[in-house]
C-alpha cells in the first residue's frame, strides 16, 4: 500500500483519484479532444477531469500557453519557479514535485529550488528569485496583497511588463491547478517492488 509523501520533494510521486475517472471505453470524440494529448487518457487526473470536457480543454490550452509560450517575457524556468512557490504556499505536494523538477531542469539551479521546498518561500534566494517569489507569494494570498512595489522591484531587476504579466499568469494559474489537484485526489509515494 502506497503512503502519502512526508513533505515537499522533487522526487516523482504518483496521484490517486478520490472519484472514478472516465474509462477509455466511455470516451467520445469530445473527450478525446478535451485531453489535447491523447496519451493523457492513461493519466487518472486527466481522465477524471475529462468528465467535464469543455472545461478541461479550455483549461489545458490556457495552461500550455501560460507555461510554454516563450515568445519573450519571463523565461520558462521562472514561470516554473512561480508555480513551485505557489504550490509550496498552498500545500500541493504533488504540483510542487512536478514543477520543482521543471524549475531545476530549466534553470540548472536544483539546490536553490530544493531550498525553496525545504525552507519555504522565505528561504534565502538571489535578488531576482527573491523578487519573483515575493511577488508570487503576495498574489497567492486571499485577498491578494500584490502591490505596485512588487512591479517596481521586478522592473528594477530588468524585467519588462510582459515578463511581469507572465509572472501574474503563472502565479494565478497555480491557484487553479493546486486547488483542483488537492480536492479530487491525493499524492502517493511511488510503490516500490517489495
Amino acid at each position: 500500500m502506497s503512503k502519502r509523501p512526508k513533505g515537499f520533494t522533487q522526487s516523482q510521486l504518483s496521484w490517486s483519484p478520490w472519484l472514478a475517472p472516465l474509462s477509455e471505453t466511455e470516451f467520445t470524440e469530445q473527450h478525446w479532444e478535451a485531453l489535447v494529448e491523447r496519451s493523457r487518457a492513461k493519466n487518472p487526473y486527466f481522465a477524471l477531469l475529462a468528465r467535464d470536457p469543455q472545461t478541461l480543454r479550455e483549461r489545458t490550452k490556457t495552461d500550455n500557453d501560460i507555461f510554454y509560450n516563450t515568445d519573450g517575457g519571463l523565461p520558462r524556468a521562472e514561470r516554473e519557479l512561480a508555480a513551485t512557490a505557489v504550490s509550496r504556499i498552498n500545500g500541493c505536494v504533488l504540483c510542487a514535485s512536478v514543477h520543482s523538477r521543471f524549475a531545476s531542469q530549466h534553470s540548472g539551479r536544483g539546490e536553490d529550488v530544493q531550498r525553496l521546498l525545504d525552507r519555504g518561500v522565505k528561504g534565502e534566494q538571489d535578488p531576482r528569485w527573491r523578487a519573483l517569489i515575493d511577488a508570487a507569494e503576495a498574489l497567492t494570498q486571499t485577498p491578494p496583497r500584490f502591490e505596485a512595489s512588487h512591479v517596481e522591484r521586478l522592473r528594477e531587476l530588468g524585467m519588462d511588463d510582459l515578463a511581469v504579466a507572465d509572472l501574474i499568469h503563472a502565479t494565478a494559474f497555480f491557484q487553479w491547478a493546486n486547488r483542483l489537484m488537492l480536492t479530487i485526489g491525493e499524492p502517493l509515494e511511488p510503490s516500490r517492488p517489495a
Binding site: 513533505g7 469543455q54 472545461t55 490556457t62 500557453d65 500541493c92 485577498p143 504579466a165
Partner: protein
C-alpha cells in the same frame, strides 16, 4: 472585443494592459474560453447556471473582490437566483477571512507549518433555504479557497452525499478553482494597469 477579465480589471481597448494581453492571444482566448465553459457551457449537465453564479458570488465575495462579486451577483439575478442573493450575502459575511491557512495532517514533516483558521459551514438557519446541495457546495468552496491543503476524501464525499453526481463534482471543483485563478489575474493586472499609466 473585451472579455470578462477586461471587464473585471477595467481594461480599455488599446490601453497598455490591453496591448500586453494581446501579446498572449492564446492565453487571452482560453482564459475567456474557460469562463465560458463554466458559465456558458455547451452542455449544461446537472449543475444549473443559478447554482454556478451563487457559488461564484460566494467565492468572490469571501475573497473580498467587489468588482467580481458584483459581476457574479448580476449573473445570479439574471438566472433567477434573486431569492438566494441576500442569503449568500449572510454566508459571505460569516465566511470572509484571510488565507491560505490550514493544518498539514498527512505530511508529518510539515506539521510545524500548520496554521489554524476558520472552518466555515453555512449556518443551519440558512441551509434549508439554500438547499443542502448548494450549502454543501459553499462549504466545500470555502475549504478550497482558504485551506486547500486540508482537502480530504471525507470533505469531497459531502458533495456526493448532498446529491451531486461525480461529473457535477468535477465541474464544481473546476469552477471554484478557476475563480481563484481569475481573481489573481484581475488583481495582478489592476496593479500593472496603475503602474503603466
Amino acid at each position: 472585443m473585451s472579455d470578462v477579465i477586461d471587464i473585471l480589471t477595467g481594461v480599455d481597448e488599446g490601453s497598455p494592459v490591453d496591448r500586453l494581453r494581446r501579446r498572449r492571444p492564446v492565453t487571452r482566448e482560453h482564459a475567456q474560453g474557460s469562463w465560458e465553459a463554466l458559465f456558458q457551457p455547451q452542455v449544461l449537465g446537472t449543475v444549473p447556471l443559478k447554482d454556478r453564479y451563487a457559488l461564484a458570488l460566494f467565492v468572490t465575495g469571501v475573497s473580498g473582490d467587489k468588482a467580481a462579486s458584483g459581476f457574479y451577483r448580476a449573473g445570479l439575478l439574471r438566472e433567477g437566483g434573486g431569492h438566494w442573493a441576500a442569503l449568500i450575502d449572510q454566508a459571505i459575511e460569516a465566511g470572509t477571512t484571510r488565507g491560505p491557512y490550514g493544518r498539514y495532517d498527512t505530511q508529518e514533516s510539515l506539521a510545524a507549518e500548520s496554521v489554524e483558521g476558520l472552518h466555515f459551514r453555512v449556518a443551519e438557519t440558512l441551509r434549508p433555504r439554500l438547499g443542502e446541495r448548494l450549502s454543501a457546495a459553499l462549504d466545500q468552496a470555502h475549504l478550497l479557497v482558504f485551506r486547500p491543503r486540508e482537502s480530504s476524501q471525507a470533505a469531497l464525499k459531502t458533495l456526493t452525499d448532498a446529491g451531486w453526481s461525480v461529473t457535477d463534482v468535477v465541474t464544481l471543483s473546476q469552477l471554484v478553482a478557476f475563480l481563484t485563478f481569475q481573481l489573481r489575474v484581475i488583481a495582478g493586472l489592476r496593479i500593472l494597469k496603475e503602474a503603466t499609466r
